[in-house]
Amino acid sequence: MTIRATEHAPAPVAPTTVSVPAGRQSNGFARLITIQKQIPVVQLVLLVVVFLVGVVTLPGFGSPVSIASILILSALAGLASVGQTLVVIIGGFDLSVAGFIVAGALMVTQFAQVTGLSFFTALLLLIPVFLVLGGLTGYICHRFNVHPIIISLAMGSIALGLVRVVSGTAIVGSPPAFLRALTSPIGGTFGIPIPPIVAIWIVVAIAMALFLHRTVAGRKLYATGANPRAAGYSLVRTRWFWVGAFAFSGLCSGLVGVALVAFAGSVDSSLGDPYLFVSLAAVIVGGTVFGGPGDYTRTIVGALVLTTITTVLVGYGLVKADQQIMYGAIILLAMAIYGRDKKLKDRV
């Protein structure tokens, strides 16, 4: 788009930068890119295509229970990427997800058992601990200007270690029965036939949309990612947005750990690993770019696409190794489309 010269513009002298109209040759492709920037069309089309392929080629794929399971898996993936989305918007990324998930899962099971705390006391304890550990990651990264990759990973390992120091290495303990209903594909929420975890996901999605687009803090969060220096001059306390985003991400991971206990029925040390990959991949595949623009609704689409593809591929007999390869390739592809840096010559 170019500047529209208005009639009353006084133009006695040629402006120093000359603009020409973008031209009518901006055909369908250019328009597609414009739309794609607003709505993740490509991802939605991919989602529909993959789903239909599944329905046609895999028996039982289209059944209500199967769809409910896909939704539950997507909800877990989507909830694991709530914090990640915020962190990516401010220009970082959070690798503590895996460690925090296992730590969260242990906290309400084994930790609670060893220390004799009730489930809810353990849950209440979890919230401040994970907020602090996550926030510390953000603080250190911003204060010392270091890349979050190492700090967040280390913090994940510290969180897991701290819980283990109390609870021991042996993995026992199981979730309370009522928790299982949370992720049951045949369960409902207050009479509505949606699994509770999916209902939670919908609420979270609405809350995120309101927060990001309709609050001062949401605006400032975007500004922090878009241009930290300009945000500083606009009196945005960028450090506190780093602390906040990482703290929130830590808390989300911990809570997803709790939900995963319910879903998996038990805890093992690799419980969080797939969700680390998924959370990053969902955000990036949705089309959120480091430092923005981006949105949680995009992450939702990303989570649905990834989960559906994975489910279909598992139906074709793919194993964990293939999924990892696929995630790597998808992240690379999505970044090649969205996430290019400036060319060297444009930085001179």
Binding site: N145, G232, F290, G291, G328, R340, L344, R347
Partner: protein, 333 residues
């Protein structure tokens, strides 16, 4: 992203020159802190275990040292050049040797060029994608980390064991009086030393220090970066063989073991994670310090559960120290 997380320069700059000379010292001898730490830990560790077997200790230290060496070129090349794929590439090299080359009768020294070629090519591909598509190195190597870990899992779902003793086991024992660990570390160091004596070394440090300046002065920035990643891949290949020498097997589940601890070692060794400052000496002493912390902890019968906490803490502290030491002084007028 390094630019994105740079805190805005809003604080009034009232820093005076008191700590300046100390920082100047560390800027010149970036590895000094790691060296001091290593010496202290070495004394402690000898005190705790007077009957230390030096050959064995060196052999178990070697994989971490080589991993740190492999991480260094990419970091030196700047723009946040963390190569996280180093760990999986090491594992791939192990699997390649134990699972494929040795059974096919290629277990002799002829395995070396094959492994180096494969791993170097992976490194070069990383570099090619990074400079060709202008992507952040971390994102690219994270993707290759996923991909290569997956490939490892695919080609060797279960651990493979080396059936016959080949030359690699000498890397753990020794060549006559020479401990194998010295050879394991010495070979990549020698390669690095030779290649950085050429103008490539100078160019690499310049590119890492300020790539736009290097570019506008006529340095071919892209090939320099690609070669840096390729070298990292080659060193990771050597690391995989060293690991086989130590454990006589290859396990795809160990893919991620070395990536981050190696970067921590490099950072602790005083190499700036933003590029252009530091080197191999720092990487080796950084790795030594981390290795010795681990061995002192186990000698002091520290509970296993505490290890990840201490590891994580060490990572955080070393990165912070590295960031503090390499922070730029203000421009004087």
């Amino acid at each position: 992203m390094s630019a994105a997380i740079a805190p805005p320069d809003l604080a009034p700059s009232r820093r005076n020159g008191q700590s300046f000379s100390l920082r100047a010292f560390f800027r010149r001898r970036t590895f000094a802190l790691a060296l001091l730490l290593s010496v202290a830990l070495l004394i402690l560790s000898v005190a705790l275990q007077p009957r230390m077997n030096w050959t064995n200790t060196l052999a178990s230290f070697a994989p971490l040292a080589v991993a740190a060496i492999a991480s260094t070129p990419a970091i030196l090349s700047g723009r946040g050049g963390l190569d996280i794929s180093i760990g999986p590439v090491m594992t791939l090299s192990s699997i390649l040797y134990v699972g494929f080359l040795d059974p096919a009768g290629l277990g002799g020294y002829e395995a070396i060029p094959i492994v180096l070629l494969v791993c170097g090519a992976i490194g070069a591909l990383n570099g090619l994608i990074i400079v060709g598509l202008n992507l952040q190195p971390v994102v690219v190597t994270l993707s290759t980390f996923f991909i290569i870990s997956g490939v490892n899992l695919r080609i060797a779902p279960n651990p493979v064991v080396l059936t016959d003793a080949t030359w690699v086991s000498k890397l753990a024992s020794g060549y006559g009086w020479l401990p194998g660990g010295i050879v394991s570390i010495g070979v990549p160091v020698l390669i690095w030393f030779l290649i950085t004596r050429t103008s490539f070394g100078r160019n690499l440090y310049s590119v890492g220090g300020n790539d736009t300046t290097a570019f506008s002065s006529g340095i071919s920035v892209a090939p320099v970066r690609i070669l840096a990643y390729a070298l990292g891949g080659c060193f990771a290949g050597i690391g995989g063989l060293v690991l086989v020498g130590l454990v006589s097997s290859a396990d795809s589940s160990g893919s991620s073991a070395y990536s981050l601890i190696a970067i921590a070692a490099v950072a602790l060794g005083g190499t700036s994670l933003s590029g252009g400052r530091g080197g191999m000496t720092g990487a080796i002493f950084g790795a030594l310090a981390i290795f010795l912390v681990q061995s002192v902890l186990s000698a002091a019968r520290m509970p296993q559960t505490l290890l990840p906490v201490i590891y994580g803490g060490l990572l955080v502290v070393s990165v912070i120290i590295g960031a503090l030491l390499s922070s730029k002084p203000k421009v004087k007028k």
